[in-house]
Assembly symmetry: C2
Homo-oligomer: 262 residues x 2
């Protein structure tokens, strides 16, 4: 718990109560009373408070839960034997991670980037829910499918975009997803919870080179970036130059509208 708690504070202005998450709409938390989805029984859910930097899922262990983010930021990452790290994606309030139907050795770890609150759902509970509430299946499948599309977009960045393009692409994605989730605050600036090392590990670069690239974009008047406060000065030009496609990277799952705090 370093100074990330500082950022956490700014992010806490729109926490989701457990009753507001997609899980309830889809009947995932309160399966015993689908008629009153917004009054889940306490026994059906497990809300966890996670300090910044703690892992909630550990690569190699057997995963038994999926998690809905209620507050804070999470990121998924994969570690190689020698410590090289690849950040695979991140999750904001309303997002679900580790959706699975059965326990398996985790292919990745999930860490809280800021202090976070998550709601755990055991896999078998998810399976039951799918059996009982067919509509939930559609919601969940759409969620996973959107996650897959974003993963593919990241693969394209990693394999075929330059450092400059990757960085810009990543910044727009973080910026847009963050503003969508936390609509309050300065209309045109966000505070990123990511360290430049996190960005590097997400983009397959080194922190040094990420820094240079960020400074370059500032010099080019495309962004303002200071103390992790990001402002995108020319969104259209940046999106164009980095090949950012909001239909892919921002495609919300179809059934999530009721969740969006706006």
């Amino acid at each position: 718990m370093t100074h990330s708690s500082r950022h956490t504070r700014t992010l806490r202005h729109s926490p989701l109560a457990c009753g507001m998450c997609t899980g309830h709409q889809a009947g995932l938390c309160d399966m015993t009373s689908p008629a009153a989805p917004h009054k889940p029984r306490a026994s059906q859910r497990t809300v966890l408070e996670v300090p910044a930097g703690a892992d909630i899922v550990r690569q190699g262990e057997i995963g038994r839960n999926s998690y809905t983010v209620l507050d804070g930021w999470l990121f998924l990452y994969c570690l190689l034997q020698d410590g090289r790290r690849q950040i695979l994606g991140f999750a904001l309030p309303g997002d679900r991670v580790n959706l699975q139907i059965m326990p398996r050795p985790n292919a990745f770890s999930i860490q809280a980037l800021t202090a976070a609150t998550v709601c755990a759902l055991p896999h078998e509970r998810l399976v039951e829910a799918l059996q009982r509430h067919p509509a939930a299946a559609v919601t969940i499948l759409d969620l996973v499918t959107c996650a897959e599309r974003i993963a593919y977009e990241h693969m394209t960045s990693l394999g075929r975009r330059t450092a400059w393009e990757r960085t810009g692409h990543f910044l727009i994605e973080v910026y847009c997803r963050s503003r969508k989730t936390f609509p309050a605050g300065d209309a045109h600036a966000i505070t990123m919870p990511f360290t430049q090392s996190h960005i590097a590990d997400a983009l397959g670069l080194t922190a040094v080179h990420v820094n240079r690239t960020l400074r370059k974009m500032v010099a080019e008047n495309l962004i303002a970036y200071d103390h992790r406060t990001l402002r995108i000065l020319d969104p259209d030009r940046l999106a164009e130059a980095t090949g950012f496609d909001r239909d892919v990277s921002l495609a919300g799952p179809a059934c999530r509208d009721g969740l969006d705090p706006r």
Copy 2:
């Protein structure tokens, strides 16, 4: 259609009849008679013959179907404006691609690597199936979830592994998945339908460098590779050195066993 047709021939020895695909087990093709899943009505399915090199899904267009591969190899890829290509993954007989619950602009294209036969399933048909046959939801979710795990593994390769590691990792994956799907033939060799350019675009490298790397691995006595015939001489050493994890990269979806031609 160049000489890939040559390879196609060798791959045609175990075509799947449409009635054998997972779709039937899950009630996806023949939704009107779940009791007799192996006798689908013709009207419920569309089998397509696709020549090598043809796209069955085109990036940017609105996708309306998912496809089950019955014969041949497909690959998914994403094109940037200027023509740079990233290959996102590949599919063999029994695999399903483009599982979606609703039409959306496609985030990627899907191309037949060899001549292929696929069975199309409209998205709305999939949704109906999920509603009517809850068990199908579990199958499908597991499929998508496994695809996501493999995508994450590829991201890790692209972002954090060296050219040598990526190449080795890719070869083992192709080798294992291919032998699992086409168990007949030379017990220890497979014929790859991929060009070295395909491999390059899958690994974020150039064809020249892929070639050098392959030659190097041959010189190191790890593999034999000639005319696209691949033999892995020291699987354990290669898996170890490239960080290949069969629990992730080969994890079959839970409910696919009945599909496996063996």
